[in-house]
């Protein structure tokens, strides 16, 4: 089966610019996650969707970050305006449903460098 697809693979922008990342989860997966992974750290959950509804966005810096999953399938994460500290790998993950025994399938991520 096809895995979680993310694009772009790399992105370099200057601070105060905007950027968007795209994620297409595994077909049929109801739950979609966006994680931020700063170099040397573990993934930090930004937002969790169940179908097209938001389950948790408590860690999302809402003054600059936004995310949507309009049709309950693919999702976009946007940063506007970007700051230097946003430099990180942005990982998208999906799971069949939001159950404790469901494993997460991760995409390869988008590596963002903010100069």
């Amino acid at each position: 089966e096809a895995g979680v697809a993310q694009s772009p693979r790399y992105k370099i922008i200057e601070k105060r610019q905007s950027v968007a990342f795209w994620c297409n989860p595994i077909s049929g997966h109801a739950t979609l996650y966006w994680y931020q992974q700063i170099l040397g750290q573990g993934p930090k959950l930004l937002i969790q969707f169940q179908n097209n509804g938001v389950v948790d966005d408590s860690q999302l810096p809402k003054d600059r970050f936004s995310a949507e999953r309009l049709k309950g399938v693919d999702s976009t994460l946007k940063i506007q305006p970007a700051k230097l500290e946003d430099s990180a790998v942005y990982l998208c993950a999906s799971s069949p449903d939001a159950w404790s025994d469901e494993k997460l399938f991760f995409g390869s991520g988008t590596q963002l460098s903010v100069l």
Partner: protein
């Protein structure tokens, strides 16, 4: 709250054993283990649930001590392919399927 992993890094010779620990200050419902190689996506290893048994496949196994809110990952007779960063992800009993990941343990297996 983020779980604490130890050690932060470990270097092994091929064939040696290692234990990676993950502890939380919160009551846990589940613990997930993932391995990530440099520049790649994290890959699922196993899930341990509250009330469940120790799990394992091949030479990698894990345990979950609910009373101590701790989990340990056991790597026996390590292989070169085991090199990478290991993350535990914990779900609190009150956090509705929300996984919080630790900072990771870097494992390097040398020939």
């Amino acid at each position: 709250q983020q779980p604490v992993q130890s050690p932060q890094a470990v270097i092994l010779r091929e064939g040696e054993d290692a234990v990676i620990n993950c502890s939380s200050s919160k009551a846990l419902y589940s613990v997930h283990w993932y391995r990530q190689k440099h520049g790649e996506a994290p890959i699922f290893l196993m899930i341990l649930l509250k009330g469940g048994e120790q799990k394992g496949h091949d030479k990698i196994s894990a345990s979950f001590n609910e009373k101590k809110q701790q989990s340990s990952l056991y790597l026996t007779a390590s292989q070169l392919s085991y090199s990478g960063t290991y993350f535990c992800g914990t779900e609190g009993v009150d956090s509705s399927y929300k996984l919080i990941f630790g900072s990771g343990t870097r494992l390097l297996v040398r020939p």
